[in-house]
């Protein structure tokens, strides 16, 4: 197994010299809130060795200014037991046991939910068996008290043989005493000495949950007052919410409203920062062009570097906002209920209910959609969702949809609207169909039936949501600033070089411009000359040559070399298709009327033989192609990052391109047979 250096290579006391403490706990115990309290923003995220599970590392200061003492805290994935046959359980079990490739941590901090002590103690019992210095954080002690539970933390500490500290992580209550206990345990390397000995595994190494339950019940009976019996926590308000949120009809309506609100918020609020980013990069581009001497370096910086960064970073506001809102929703407890609503529909296609957030997010942009698959616990389910998420019609497809539906249905807004909606439907159906095929072939099996703890409804933590948004944003920028930027620069170079001499028609137009005394006419002629030069340059560039080479592949779909160049260059990003066509067609017949809009210029464009470039059949074929094709390099890079292998993005590329080609072919020739030329 290939080991991620972040964890595997870290010796117990790493180069930093700081002791390492593993933070473990059941899901929904407030583990991440406590991590944020202890580490603040000084956290970084890395993949776990051999997996794509994210683990957060943070430095926590346990001392005071006069006597500093820092530790490295590792926020491990939430798990119910070490002994389960689940990736997260195996991972944490291996880490605590110090099995290769992991180094044993110096201590363990276990977070338990004070309102649900018996169930949480299963994990504590297993951790104590590991023999590492341990501290138990008794979180949500305020909620337990509200429910009439009185927990004798000192008695519990004696029984478990390690410090037990009551805390309220969301409000920071009890965090200072926790730091002090943690420091003492780590410094003195105090192993636990429980009075209530946790059960031992049997000869086969198995530890039945029933044994742990029996032990946990005895511990709780000895230190918890009030009543923890069944039914005391039942709450009619909670039950009513659950009834509504998981109702077959009402649940879907609420889901549509909540998700509609979420995506409206993203589109409404992300526009301003996105415009700002675009304007800033446009300004920087102009500044570079005005400052640097003309030449390859200026073109590279302005077109390749700044253009590449701008094209990717522009999605940052959407990504941050999406994760901020998802974190808020998750915190409220609603997402767990919504997952069940969608599970009924998605499970028929081999997708889990958890997939709905990534698939919806992919409508804004496939990148955050793929990143949001972290919510899905099962790897097969997660891979299936990643594979099909790019089928969802993202915002980058919108310019192409607008252009082609307008070309297809000029002055027929109703039909154009239907075609537009049809694109979204086709994408969603392709995603569901592809998922069903994947689950019958390369990722065999059904989606895991959902069993999920339904967390308590809570007021969401703004602080945690901000941390999540910042972390995901930084992670995205890291990818954008390295791999994506490098590939963008290569693609830019391919479309900008080699530089061609000005073509004859451009020279003639410039001569006419110089000769005319009408300044308006001169400006028009110069614009036409620039367009002709750009078009010629595109045609002569490596990308243009590539377009001519690959044109035979696209000829059965009705595309000439110009459209083939558009398709090839839009591999960088789909929206590039419109700008490429605009550039390529700038000096065509429509050049006679340079004031004509982009759509009009493209509509009247012709091929070399004088026939229309975009007939209805070609437009429809292109539309289908862009709905289904994987025309997005950053998405492939993100898929590679999230799956940990190039195998899956390459499969994605191959499958989506093949499907797009076949359906575009059927559309083109089907319309031809129907007499639609």
């Amino acid at each position: 197994m290939a080991a991620e250096p972040a964890l595997a290579a870290l010796p117990a006391r790493a180069a930093s010299g700081r002791p390492r403490v593993a933070l473990v706990g059941n899901p929904n115990t407030g583990k991440t809130s406590l991590f944020n309290r202890l580490c603040g923003v000084r956290a970084k995220t890395a993949n776990f060795p051999g997996t794509t599970t994210d683990v957060r590392f943070g430095r926590s200061q346990l001392g005071v200014e006069a006597d500093p003492y820092a530790i490295e805290l590792i926020d491990l994935p939430g798990l119910y037991r070490l002994g389960l046959d689940l990736p997260e359980s195996r991972m944490v079990d291996d880490l605590l046991a110090g099995r290769v490739p992991y180094q044993r941590p110096d201590a363990v901090l276990v977070v338990v939910d004070a309102t649900n002590l018996v169930r949480n103690l299963y994990l504590v019992g297993e951790v104590l068996r590991a023999g590492l210095p341990t501290v138990v954080a008794l979180n949500m002690i305020d909620l337990a008290q509200q429910r009439g539970l009185t927990i004798d933390a000192r008695r519990l500490s004696d029984l478990l043989g390690c410090p037990v500290v009551p805390v309220v992580a969301r409000r920071g209550v009890g965090v200072d005493p926790l730091r002090a206990f943690l420091r003492r345990v780590v410094e003195e390397a105090l192993p636990p000495h429980p009075l209530a000995e946790p059960p031992m595994p049997d000869a086969a190494g198995e530890l039945p949950t029933a044994h742990l339950e029996e032990w946990a019940e005895k511990v709780v009976a000895a230190c918890v007052g009030g009543s923890g019996a069944l039914g005391t926590a039942s709450d009619t308000v909670v039950e009513r919410f659950d009834q509504a949120f998981t109702h077959p009809v009402l649940g879907i309506l609420i889901f549509v409203l909540v998700m509609g609100g979420l995506f409206w918020t993203i589109f409404a609020f992300a526009t301003v920062p996105m415009d700002l980013i675009e304007a800033t990069f446009a300004y920087l581009g102009e500044w570079v062009r005005a400052t640097l001497p003309a030449g390859a370096v200026r073109d590279l910086v302005a077109g390749g570097v700044l253009g590449g960064i701008a094209g990717t970073v522009v999605f940052l506001p959407q990504i941050c906002l999406l994760f901020f809102l998802i974190s808020l929703l998750e915190d409220t407890g609603y997402l767990a209920r919504a997952a069940f609503v969608m599970d009924r529909i998605l499970c028929r296609f081999g997708l889990p209910g958890y997939a709905f957030v990534p698939l919806l997010a992919a409508h804004a942009c496939a990148l955050p959609g793929i990143m949001a698959t972290k919510l899905i616990p099962d790897r097969q389910d997660r891979l299936t969702t990643i594979l099909v998420a790019p089928f969802m019609s993202c915002s980058a497809r919108l310019p192409v949809y607008v252009l082609l539906t307008t070309l297809l249905f000029r002055d027929e807004p109703f039909k154009a609207g239907l075609a537009f909606a049809g694109c979204y439907l086709l994408g969603a159906l392709a995603a569901l169909g592809s998922a069903a095929i994947a689950r019958r072939t390369i990722l065999p099996g059904r989606s895991r039936p959902m069993v999920l703890e339904l967390p308590t409804y809570k007021v969401p933590s703004l602080r945690s949501a901000l941390y999540v948004a910042a972390e995901q944003g930084l992670s995205f920028l890291k990818t954008a600033g390295t791999v994506i930027l490098a590939i963008c620069m290569v693609m830019w170079w391919l479309s900008a070089y080699p530089k061609a001499e000005a073509p004859a028609d451009a020279i003639a137009l410039r001569a006419q411009a110089a000769a005319t005394s009408d300044p308006e006419r001169a400006a028009e002629l110069l614009t036409a000359a620039n367009g002709a030069e750009l078009r010629y340059q595109q045609g002569q560039s490596y990308a243009g040559r590539l377009g001519r080479i690959v044109q035979p592949i696209f000829a059965p779909l009705g595309y000439d070399w110009q459209l083939s160049v558009g398709v090839i260059t839009s591999f960088l990003a789909r929206e590039v298709f419109v700008s490429t066509l605009t550039v390529l067609l700038a000096g065509t017949d429509a050049g006679d009327s340079p004031d004509a809009g982009v759509i009009e210029r493209i509509r009247v464009a012709t091929r070399a033989d004088g026939t229309p470039l975009l007939t209805p059949a070609v437009s429809a074929s292109l539309l289908v192609f862009f709905v289904l094709a994987m025309q997005c390099l950053p998405t492939l890079v993100t898929s590679r990052k999230e799956t940990g292998s190039w195998k899956w993005p390459l499969l994605q590329l191959g499958w989506m391109s093949t499907l797009a080609w076949c359906f575009a072919f059927l559309t083109y020739h089907g319309l031809g047979l129907l007499g639609v030329g």
């Binding site: 909670v238 039950e239 998981t246």
Partner: protein
């Protein structure tokens, strides 16, 4: 892979399916005709052999409460969980 019995199924009383209990009814876990990993997950969530549970909602999902934990179970799974009604408890 064949469905595996609950690790503690031996000796458990014959019961009815969880989906047959009504809302508000209580029961004790008897057995689960599930895959091993599914069984393990149910146990880890607190749905252990003979544990007392209360049905909060029937349908898909079936929502049960065990001690202070509310657990949503997809109907596909709930149909394969056997319980013994515990009316008097």
């Amino acid at each position: 892979m064949e469905p595996q019995p609950d690790e503690n199924r031996q000796g458990s009383e014959a019961g009815i399916r969880l989906v047959q209990l009504g809302r508000g009814d209580r029961g004790r876990m008897a057995a689960a005709e599930l895959e091993r990993d599914e069984c393990q997950l149910l146990h880890a969530l607190g749905l252990t052999d003979r544990c007392l549970l209360k049905v909060c909602k029937q349908g898909d999902p079936c929502i049960v409460q065990v001690r202070a934990t509310r657990i949503g179970i997809s109907q596909r799974l709930a149909e394969r969980i056997l319980v013994v009604p515990a009316e008097s408890e």
